[in-house]
């Protein structure tokens, strides 16, 4: 199985996009070798702008470029770029400027650098802003199509990408559909909704759950906002409960989005899983996923506990 970090797939897709769309411009804040905008920078030096370690100004300038007809991709680590919340709020969201905000290095999956570099609340803050679409692809093919989609789509987009490599979960011929969740594996007992770096772990957890006699449906939610409410409600009706898992604080992310839909439309058992309202820390990627129980084993254990509780 091929394995690629979604930031890497993004960098490759962006360099291709530069050929197809002359309006695409790229802004970075001293992290081009980490966000992988370096490929675009090499190929299109006239359309690449290095803003230095000054993210707020970069976002504001991107908004200005967008208002003058460009399609700017403003890129940094997720925590630093969404940390400039008020600039995004006013200059991108409220202004409705066509800026594509790219946040890489999301979640505890970044490993040794530790909490200060981890995007763990980025979805929560971005989800609170009207107008902004939030996409978190889970493998290479999905990332590449999502990048092409973002450039075509007229409006602000926030895309969340991993530092760590992720295996392919989608088949060749996969077509990214904005706002539509993807059923990766059928199941009738429990629905697991995962996003980004946790999706392949959820697929592995399905096997472990099967050994415990639990038939889990696995859904990949790549568009966190707008959420595929039809799919969420259908799963709530067809299975006994919903279990969300994300490499993000469980407050404000995918789990919260699903909870909001369920509460208002079809109250059903829900377990939110992910980073349990704590700060992250340094460690190896795999060690952290294990310690924070969002690897396959941790997901299977938590999902089984939940299922046993609700099916009593």
């Amino acid at each position: 199985m091929a394995k690629k970090a979604t930031r890497q797939a993004f960098g490759e897709a962006l360099a291709e996009l530069g050929d197809k769309n002359q309006d695409v411009v790229v802004l970075d804040a001293d992290l081009s070798k980490s966000t992988m905008t370096c490929y675009f920078a090499d190929k299109f030096p006239d359309r690449f702008f290095e803003f230095g370690i000054a993210e707020a100004n970069m976002i504001g300038a991107a908004a200005g470029m967008a208002l003058a007809g460009k399609i700017p991709f403003a890129c940094s680590f997720a925590c630093f770029i969404t940390g400039r919340y008020d600039t995004i709020r006013m200059s991108v969201g409220y202004t409705n400027s066509n800026v594509k905000i790219i946040g890489t290095h999301v979640g505890i999956g970044i490993g040794e650098d530790g909490y200060s570099q981890m995007g763990l609340e980025d979805v929560a803050v971005m989800r609170s802003l009207p107008n902004i679409t939030i996409i978190q692809p889970a493998d290479e093919i999905e990332t590449k199509q999502a990048v092409a989609y973002a450039a075509e789509y007229d409006g602000p987009v926030y895309m969340r990408l991993t530092r760590q490599k992720l295996p392919d979960i989608n088949q060749d011929g996969y077509v990214f559909q904005h706002g539509k969740g993807v059923e990766l594996a059928p199941g009738n007992d429990l629905t697991i909704l995962a996003t980004g770096g946790t999706v392949y772990h959820a697929l592995d957890a399905k096997k472990q759950l099967a050994e415990k006699g639990i038939d889990a449906r696995i859904i990949n939610i790549h568009t966190i906002k707008p959420l595929d409410t039809d799919l969420v409600l259908r799963c709530a009706k067809e299975t006994k409960g919903l279990f969300t898992v994300e490499d993000h604080n469980i407050i404000g992310g995918l789990g919260s989005a699903v909870a909001e839909v369920l509460c208002e439309h079809y109250p059903a058992p829900l377990k939110r899983w992910g980073i349990l309202d704590v700060y992250g820390e340094s460690g190896g990627e795999a060690d952290l996923y294990h310690a924070y129980k969002i690897d396959a084993e941790g997901i299977a254990e938590a999902a089984a506990d939940f299922y046993n509780r609700i099916s009593k």
Binding site: I53, A56, S116, G284, L288
Partner: protein, 277 residues
């Protein structure tokens, strides 16, 4: 009991040498981290902790201690190594850097390690915290001082300039900033990524006292720190002109060594070179 400081330049140099060697060992063991800016910062770090700052390794939260904030948090290994030498914790703990459960986080975490004054790692924020501490000391008529190290790349952040402006307004002459001017950041040389020069004139225009030094010359560093302490009515910037990766030939001025750990062979070569200094 307060730490016994020294003004003996050779002793300080030998502290610096051990810090550099420990930085190399820690990063190799962790297989990640930032050697370039840790090594450029080392001589200033050694001068501060072993010659200038009032502190007590047996009582890290002593009210009257001087405070140090590593605003460019990725360079904290140099400070960890210095703290260990001063007796804050066992040197053996250094090899836990960046491991799951370690108090020595990749970027400093004050909730994990007592001797850390502020959690940093998102560049541009440490100086404002240092300013607030300096203002609090003034409010309390306390005589402890605040030292803050920032990077030249870091000084591209807008918040740095908000703090610089405010520190002049509030006349925090108990605040000394050391700018580790090693000319490098991640994407390249500071002059190419986003020029900051003339940085001395910018600080002067903001009403700071400015002193330029060779950031690897202990005498110059000590004189500048003394001058800063004697300067009344305004904060001081010490512009420390340094070499990124100082002391390891293949790292010096090489942008590639900003955030990469040495291999075992590179570690050996680096330690040999540092031992020979």
């Amino acid at each position: 009991m307060a730490f016994q400081l020294t003004r003996d330049v050779n002793t300080i140099k030998s502290y610096a040498k051990t810090i550099r060697m420990n930085v190399i060992k820690m990063l190799t063991e962790a297989a990640s981290g930032h050697p370039g800016g840790s090594l450029s910062a080392t001589d200033v770090v050694a001068a501060l902790l072993f010659a200038v700052m009032r502190h007590d390794p047996t009582n890290p939260k002593w009210d009257n201690r001087d405070r140090f904030i590593m605003s460019k948090g990725h360079c904290i290994p140099a400070w960890y190594a210095a703290l260990a030498q001063a007796g804050y914790f066992d040197e053996k703990e250094l090899c836990t850097l960046r491991r799951l459960g370690s108090r020595l986080q990749g970027h400093p975490d004050r909730c994990k390690l007592e001797a850390i004054e502020a959690s940093t790692g998102s560049l541009g924020q440490g100086l404002s915290i240092a300013l607030g501490m300096a203002m609090a000391a003034k409010m309390n008529n306390a005589d402890w001082r605040v030292y803050c190290m920032i990077g030249d790349g870091e000084s591209q952040e807008g918040q740095i300039w908000e703090a610089v402006m405010a520190a002049a307004k509030f006349k925090t002459d108990n605040l000394t900033v050391i700018l580790d001017h090693n000319n490098g950041q991640i994407d390249g040389y500071v002059a190419d990524v986003m020029p900051i020069m003339p940085i001395e004139e910018k600080f002067r225009a903001f009403n700071w006292h400015v002193i330029g030094v060779d950031g690897h010359d202990i005498n110059q560093i000590l004189n500048a720190l003394d001058e800063a302490a004697d300067t009344k009515g305004r904060p001081t910037l010490i512009l420390a002109n340094t070499v990124k990766g100082k002391g390891v030939s293949f790292m010096e001025n090489n942008i590639g060594w900003h955030g990469k750990a040495p291999s075992k062979e590179e570690e050996e070569k680096a330690l040999q070179e540092l031992a020979a200094i």
